[in-house]
């Protein structure tokens, strides 16, 4: 039995359906990311789990208990907001201890727990400060400690890193993952940043227009996208329009080049797609013209045009190896298994 179950959740605001038939089972201690573009309903699902929105339909279960009708303050769920939402009248220690105070934990036990939490987030000496005396990254860590202090059953984070600058974002996301694993707390993390989701999640739910398009491990999502939307939203994708020549043997034709995929294909036309790191300049393949070369440190990024398609190819930086130059006519291919076949 899964620890957290979202069972056919639906939510409409007036006539607009914002979340449709959303189901998910989360194991205890799992780290789940909701990934999707802005406005796709991630926050709404999270708020239903927290109890701030009532689902129009469906159920939410935590540890076997139906919490759908429970008020937010009875759910034992920790929540971290994008805008921190620290209590401005309380010190850092007061903020972290707030949930314990509400629960009637005696002062001494509370102080111990607050100290423990501040140590956990790496700010052991800031208990006496007020929120406005902290940087954004520090405030968000305090918000995390505050959410964790009462030992919630589930931790929810709604784009907790979006308001921070790039460097802090990177270090804090690793810290969140470390703390999550240390405590083994069941976590849902909302983000619109695919790199963030790929790097820290056990599983990712890719959302699109209120629907869960695909749920899977980061490598599943990246390597085997279930829909065109997932393929395009997660990572960069090069797409080709292909004509299926032999559905059984798995032969297609792209821009006059024959490509053998070695798998069963639907008849007619399909979209053939490949990641930038899968595409190679090769003796055989799709004819293309190089339009640009960028050096990004660990990789060279080649831009090319094949028929009407703009392509991106990433090539590991291997000093001494010859690179094509802008204007060169080349041929491009990928290993048969690296090609994704999407419905046209």
């Amino acid at each position: 039995m899964s620890f957290l179950v979202l069972d056919h959740l639906r939510k409409s605001f007036g006539p607009t359906r914002v979340v449709d038939d959303f189901s998910l089972s989360v194991d205890k201690g799992e780290f789940i990311s909701f990934l999707g573009p802005s406005g796709c309903g991630k926050t709404t699902v999270l708020r239903m789990v927290a109890g701030f929105e009532a689902p129009s339909d469906g159920r939410i279960l935590i540890d076997g208990q139906d919490v759908t009708r429970l008020r937010p303050n009875q759910r034992q769920i920790g929540m971290v907001f994008q805008a921190y939402a620290l209590f401005p009248n309380l010190t850092v220690a007061g903020n972290v201890g707030f949930g314990l105070r509400v629960a009637g934990v005696p002062r001494a036990a509370r102080a111990d727990r607050v100290a423990e939490m501040l140590a956990l987030i790496g700010l052991p000496d800031l208990g006496g400060r007020y929120p406005w005396q902290l940087s954004g990254g520090q405030q968000q860590r305090v918000a995390l400690a505050r959410a964790l202090a009462p030992s919630p059953r589930v931790l929810l984070l709604d784009e907790p890193l979006s308001a921070l600058d790039a460097k802090i974002r990177l270090s804090l996301r690793n810290q969140i993952r470390d703390i999550q694993q240390q405590l083994g707390i069941t976590t849902i993390f909302v983000t619109h940043d695919q790199e963030e989701a790929l790097s820290i999640s056990d599983r990712i739910v890719v959302m699109h227009r209120g629907i869960a398009d695909q749920t899977g491990t980061p490598s599943d999502i990246y390597n085997h996208p279930a829909t065109g939307f997932v393929a395009g939203f997660v990572g960069t994708l090069n797409r080709f329009s292909a004509e299926v020549v032999d559905p059984v043997a798995g032969h297609v034709r792209v821009e006059g080049a024959d490509i053998a995929l070695g798998r069963l294909l639907p008849p007619g036309r399909v979209t053939l797609a490949a990641r930038p790191e899968s595409l190679k300049v090769a003796p055989e393949g799709i004819p293309a013209r190089i339009t640009g070369v960028e050096f990004l440190g660990s990789v060279h990024r080649l831009r090319a045009r094949a028929g009407g398609a703009e392509l991106v190819l990433d090539r590991f930086n291997a000093p001494g190896e010859a690179l094509p130059r802008p204007g060169d006519h080349v041929r491009i291919s990928a290993a048969p298994a690296a090609w994704l076949v999407l419905p046209e």
Partner: protein
């Protein structure tokens, strides 16, 4: 030239405000023939009626503040949290006491709560006190509501509420531990304005026949020469004392006021 006119405006304002005050103070010191003295003040302070009515009004003022806070803070909070579209309506309602004369309100009270009504509040002294308290709270409403609402506008009420809820807090906890402490500075400024209003209020207290400071001032003014001037100066001092206290307290609380 511009400078000249701004100075002239300031001078005119100063004369407009200060001359009557100086005149009153000067007059209040002339009780003893031929020399300045504090006799009028001594006479006022020695009057047991002064002490009784002033004490009564101070207690009423404090109760008014308490009632005002209990009504206004949860209301203004709830409107911001759940009924933001009703804010203009609520704001309009809270401004009504400035538009409707107190005398109209008090006659309404007397008609509604007289001894032959369902709720005969005017039948007993306690009942009438309660009625007067409600009247005072209503008079103070515009000031209290504005102050608190302005205080709330500096907070992200919804996010703070949700954060507190997810930490297990109920409504009483949220208002008591979170909202009230965060708008305390604003509550204070509303409170002192309420105080100043109640101390000098005449119409309601007189028509409900309660022994308040306002009617006492009027009575004294009608019957004595120098004492009313002394009383006016005392009342003025009390009011300004309140304002000063207000500044002081909001500055002390301001230390913990948040930026973002």
């Amino acid at each position: 030239m511009k400078r000249f006119w701004s100075w002239a405006a300031i001078a005119f304002g100063a004369i407009y405000f200060l001359l009557p005050l100086i005149g009153t103070i000067e007059f209040s010191l002339r009780m003893r023939r031929g020399e300045y003295s504090l006799d009028a003040y001594a006479s006022v302070l020695a009057d047991p009626n002064f002490r009784a009515t002033f004490g009564y009004s101070v207690v009423m003022a404090l109760l008014t503040i308490l009632l005002g806070v209990l009504i206004v803070v949860p209301t203004a909070y709830w409107v911001r949290l759940r009924l933001p579209r009703l804010r203009p309506v609520i704001e309009f309602i809270t401004l009504l006491p400035l538009v409707i004369p107190a005398i109209v309100v008090v006659f309404g009270y007397i008609r509604l709560y007289n001894t032959s009504s369902v709720l005969p509040l005017t039948g007993t002294a306690t009942g009438t006190n309660i009625l007067l308290l409600c009247g005072y709270a209503m008079l103070a409403l515009p000031y209290m509501y504005r102050a608190v609402d302005t205080g709330l506008s500096t907070l992200d009420v919804r996010a703070l509420t949700e954060a507190a809820q997810s930490l297990g807090a109920g409504w009483v906890g949220i208002i008591g531990r979170l909202i009230l402490p965060n708008v305390l500075g604003a509550v204070m400024s509303g409170a002192f304005l309420s105080f100043a209003i109640v101390i000098g209020e005449f119409t309601m207290a007189a028509l409900l026949n309660r022994p308040a400071f306002g009617p006492y001032m009027q009575l004294l003014g009608a019957n004595r020469a120098y004492e009313p001037a002394a009383l006016a100066v005392i009342a003025f001092g009390v009011t300004w004392g309140c304002m000063g206290l207000l500044q002081l307290i909001s500055r002390l609380l301001g230390v913990r006021k948040t930026a973002t």
